[in-house]
Symmetry: C2
Subunit: 307 residues, 2 copies
């Protein structure tokens, strides 16, 4: 039951060697979700051994090229690979119009359906769910309307304790009922409380993707208690004024967000190309939030199972 994030691009708008445009592959129980899709994302999926076939949905944060340009060639590649099932793409308006324009000029025979679902980047909405996962939007503060994404495991189904099955001699029907949360009568007719029979196999885990944005107290509230937080940190403290002017965060802003949200771990990324050495950003963040690491392309950050 994996829950992890692989960084596909840790750079910002001006890509530099080893720091490409935004992209992350979120793996939740072996289903893959792509968050942002800058140029070359498919190339890095390939390089890091992640099959694009596994992508269930794509979440695009905002309409800036460095978060978008890779989606069109990826759509094309999935067609060439013979994809048949629909691909859901969640993005703010007017992504759908751009998609239509590009498709009409360059893609005429896709063997699968691309389903564009517009999201409202000013609202906190549940936009996607399946058996094990929910994804919600987190409004951000950027030069264009932008949404972060909060991935949360659902509360898993109850498991029945092996020792309880043995002790009370539970049959199949009783086990099924216990899994539904019911209390079960024993041989003497006394009701055994469900909590004596069952346990929650793991506590739901969560990951938040917060990029691009200035520090946002509102976003922090929405991601409270998140286990793993990716927060953009385009700039160091010395470029604080530039961060503000461009709707971006410093490493300290990212760390403040992690601290105030009570996050488990923080990954910072979306680095400006000006930094050859990222250690000052890491230091500035760790001064505020010690459990910070730098995003590194190709690296996978796992959220361990919580009992």
């Amino acid at each position: 039951m994996n829950f992890n994030v692989t960084i596909l691009g840790c750079g910002s708008a001006l890509a530099a060697r080893g720091m490409h445009h935004a992209g992350q592959a979120v793996n939740v129980h072996e289903q893959l979700y792509l968050v942002d899709c800058g140029e070359g994302t498919q190339d890095r999926l390939l390089r890091f051994g992640i099959s694009p076939h596994k992508i269930r949905a794509v979440f695009l944060s905002h309409m800036h090229g460095d978060h978008i340009y890779g989606i069109f060639p990826l759509i094309s590649t999935l067609g060439l690979l013979g994809k048949k099932t629909p691909l859901k793409i969640f993005a703010p308006h007017p992504f759908g119009e751009l998609l239509d324009a590009v498709s009409s000029y360059l893609e005429n025979r896709l063997p699968y359906e691309v389903q564009y679902i517009p999201i409202d980047p000013t609202a906190s909405d549940k936009i996607y769910e399946n058996k094990v996962l929910e994804v919600s939007t987190v409004p951000l503060r950027h030069s264009k309307p932008a949404a972060g994404f909060l991935f949360r495991e659902k509360i898993p189904a109850l498991n029945v304790k092996k020792e309880a099955i043995a002790e009370y001699g539970l049959g199949v029907a009783q086990i099924v009922a216990a899994k539904r949360g019911e209390d079960i009568p024993d041989a003497s007719g006394r009701l055994i409380p469900n909590r004596e029979l069952t346990f929650i196999p793991y506590r739901p885990r969560s990951f938040a993707y917060i990029s691009d944005t200035s520090y946002s107290g509102k976003a922090v509230k929405l991601i409270e208690g998140v286990d793993l937080l990716f927060h953009e940190a385009t700039f160091a403290d010395a470029e604080k004024a530039l961060a503000k002017a461009t709707g971006h965060s410093t490493a300290a802003d990212a760390a403040k967000a992690a601290a105030r949200a009570g996050a488990g771990e923080l990954i910072i990324g979306h680095f400006s190309a000006r930094y050859k050495d990222l250690s000052p950003l890491l230091r500035e963040a760790r001064d505020i939030f010690p459990r910070t690491t730098l995003a590194h392309e190709g690296r996978t950050y796992s959220i361990p199972l919580k009992k």
Copy 2:
């Protein structure tokens, strides 16, 4: 006075590891021209140490994504790098409409002008020239209207022989006149024929980019005597039927084109992702045209100065 070509992408529509989408950097006397621009072209320019600042013009062969998708993020990057001079992009209709659509959604503040110049992929037209170079279109046979490009050095200005200057005691005015091709009177009034005074410093060199296409006898005529030919060879002979059906060439088709055009050297590329080992394609081409090499990303193929 360099004239060389660096391969930026040697793959076809379905990119594979180490074989990316189409792109070539043509260097003529230290001015750079980009031919096709698949996804990630700017990343490979960076990786191969080629400054995108040097790009004078972009030539796009046809409206398929694997030849196009990299141009939009490259346009964006040149803006971030502070480009001020216009960028000319030559491409078949309706590239301009697509460019307008993408720009209107994703680029609003470019500090330089993108000049789109439509080309007619059914005609052989001179579409670009400067002091030292002419570029012409070569109609191709593909599933979409497609043009190849022929790069030709212009005949260079005459140089005056040092020994003639000494022998006849030529002054500055006489040297300038000789460079213009004039005969010069000597001290006794006898006209010295220009050919005794001057020489052509080098013979004009040429490079042709022929992709994507089925074998085309018409294209071969237009590139007769070319020094360096890049010809697509998507398939091996075993996939000949597929090549025909998709408007592509086999390695043998490429070699036949080189042989019939009397080319100096042949580079084959635009390889299908199905080939892990390209040596059969090389063998099939060399059986027909021995001076064939495989396109290799990052490799620069020079055309030596011809005296």
